[in-house]
Symmetry: C2
Subunit: 404 residues, 2 copies
């Protein structure tokens, strides 16, 4: 069902010097499914992360944030199947147990391990099963294991999500490889979007953190499937420093561009594989007063259940988009100044239907699996782009039937 999203070709995924990955079947999710991922990071690796803004962060999010503030990170551990969210103190204890067990296996401290979980909320983490699976995952550790890693973090994803790029820096060529999981900003019970992007470039920790935050805003913070934010969202960037350094402004810019491109490809893959998605839609808002209001308008369109069911139907019932713009809660927005386009077709001019617009034009654009909705606010110079999918019967089916 995913929209224009082929499975990643393992041969195209570049190993990142300094990162080894190992996977195992711990029996947390389903029998016979890889559901445990371990990553070992070379010493000197710097790690930056952004986490969910949900006020009920999962136990692993709480712990990962804390460990990230502490010493240098040496390993990541990810399980699918159980989110370890809404689990109170017991959840924190179990997440820490897993870190301790992996630290013992790798010869580091538990505080140097970042834990991640994704799956059903408010059920206890079966930490015993995860700990029992760790030796197999550690035994599997090797650099060229990104495709298996992308598979091991899937929940209801229908396609694994991974991609690589090379970036030329002054001191040589660096590699950027990333993986992600998720079928939307919110992943039902399976709570979440997780993404990990690694590079061998050498970059200072402060610079990496700033790059990570900006990259998130242009990728994972610019998508929606159903408008919810999960308890477990995390996006981690890591730089092993085994490759060329990125110190000059020019090199940092090039590295940031490569990281952003990888993150955008992964974020878009999450939307293309959105629950029940049959359409992939880019929503661009232009000529707003500032980026914030453009973002509000873009999300008002991208999250409206009515707009998304119209996308599903391919029904050029585009007054719904005007109504969504009016509903964006942007103070002083004069809807009578708004122009609206589907691809190159102008649908509305100055808040009303364009007299030249014919509905067949809109219908033709919306019949395609991918198209652009562009709203021009005509009151400033700011812009913003977000990506969304349609809202189909299968979204309801997947979310009503999950677990049963």
């Amino acid at each position: 069902m995913a929209v224009n999203l082929p499975a990643p070709d393992p041969a195209q995924l570049l190993a990142v010097p300094g990162v080894e990955l190992g996977v195992a079947m711990a029996g947390v999710r389903k029998p016979g499914r890889k559901d445990l991922l371990v990553a070992r990071l070379a010493s000197g690796t710097v790690v930056a992360g952004v986490f969910t803004r949900n006020r009920l962060p999962a136990a692993p999010v709480v712990l990962a944030r804390k460990h990230l503030r502490g010493g240098p990170v040496r390993a990541l551990v990810v399980n699918t199947g159980i989110a370890n969210a809404g689990t109170g103190r017991d959840g924190l204890k179990r997440a820490l147990e897993v870190c301790e067990a992996l630290a013992a296996g790798l010869g580091c401290r538990a505080q140097q391990v970042l834990p991640f979980s994704t799956g059903v909320i408010m059920e206890p983490l079966p930490s015993e099963r995860i700990m029992a699976g760790l030796p197999a995952a550690v035994g599997d550790l090797r650099p060229g294991n990104w495709a298996a890693a992308a598979e091991a973090i899937m929940t209801t994803d229908t396609v694994a999500k991974a991609c690589s790029r090379r970036v030329r820096l002054a001191g040589g060529t660096a590699v950027v490889t990333g993986i992600a999981k998720g079928s939307g900003m919110i992943r039902p019970d399976m709570a979440t979007m997780l993404a990990f992007v690694a590079t061998d470039a050498k970059v200072a920790h402060g610079a990496l953190q700033r790059i990570t935050r900006r990259t998130a805003d242009l990728s994972f913070n610019a998508i929606t499937v159903d408008g919810d934010t999960s308890t477990n969202d995390a996006f981690i960037c890591l730089a092993t420093g085994r490759g060329p350094a990125a110190r000059s402004g020019k090199d940092l810019k090039a590295l940031e561009a490569a990281l952003t491109k990888v993150a955008q490809t992964l974020a878009q893959a999450v939307v293309r594989d959105g629950e029940g998605a049959t359409k992939f839609v880019t929503v661009r808002v232009e000529r707003g007063r500032n980026a914030g209001e453009c973002r509000k308008v873009a999300y008002a369109i991208a999250q409206s259940a009515l707009v998304k069911t119209a996308f599903f139907a391919g029904d050029a019932n585009l007054g719904r988009i005007l109504a969504a713009i009016g509903n964006a809660r942007v103070a002083e927005l004069d809807a009578a100044q708004v122009d609206l386009y589907i691809d190159r077709v102008r649908v509305a001019r100055r808040g009303g239907r364009d007299p030249a617009y014919r509905e067949e034009q809109g219908a033709a654009a919306m019949k395609k699996p991918e198209f652009l909705v562009r709203a021009v606010l005509n009151r400033g110079e700011a812009a913003c782009t977000v990506w969304t999918c349609d809202f189909s019967y299968d979204y309801v089916k997947i979310n009503a039937e999950y677990r049963s």
Copy 2:
């Protein structure tokens, strides 16, 4: 499909002295359907209204607001089928034409007529057809016509919505009768929720406006089907003054209580008849710091697509509700203090699953067509209640197939 919502019994609907209603088939919506309503108000009637906060208000909303600020209102005119929103200057011109035609028929000024429309957005209002239908509607004017009026304003509503109450005031018994249409906060293309409540009590304009605003907050501003706000929403309260006066604080309180009860019944009817609804759910948030944050949390639950699909499935997958609470964007909310109940069953305690909770308990509660979700924030004394429905296949079907 409506949940526990019988059609109103015309014999139970009380005429309101000073209000006459007439309906007609103007051919705006569908052939053979009543789609035009005219109300004539006795001189001395005071009228108060609250309108959509959508920044793209429909032409009739713009005009009704303006006429309401002007002279005393003598008539209302409502059409279904076309919303007259996203129609620019031409839309305003056509709405005014309709007011002028009705004013000529009734012998008042166009500025004394409030127009209302509901239907597809961004299509021109067929004002000629409406004007051609006005004489029949005017010829039909009579006091005991509330059931026909409720039917004439329906769009995709499956059940007409009307209700009456009597209220004892110092000077005698007053009558309150109201009608509404809508299957949600947003009515798709059919944009909207419209509600009209009338009483024969004599009440000052300022008092009525204050009562109307408070009543709206406890009724129509406390429901959601899909989280959107339409371009045409309007809630009008009118008091003809032909009955007993409400002047003392006690009488005003009694009248407000009656108006609120009627408005809540109508608002709940909109949710019970929500698009595709199979469940009617009351969401109550208690012990918040203030009403605003309780409202944010209540709506975060009531609007989450994931929570609503779990309601549909009757799946006691209640971690989704905790995640929604965390997603309410309430600053400083400590989710680890939250208790969660379904009816009388405590599901979560202090942010984590209640050890005594068994999933069969949640499943049994959610199998019923109506139940209560109660979140206790444990940080203050404020509370808020909203009403919502579940999210079913039929929601997608109705919205994907409308117009086709």
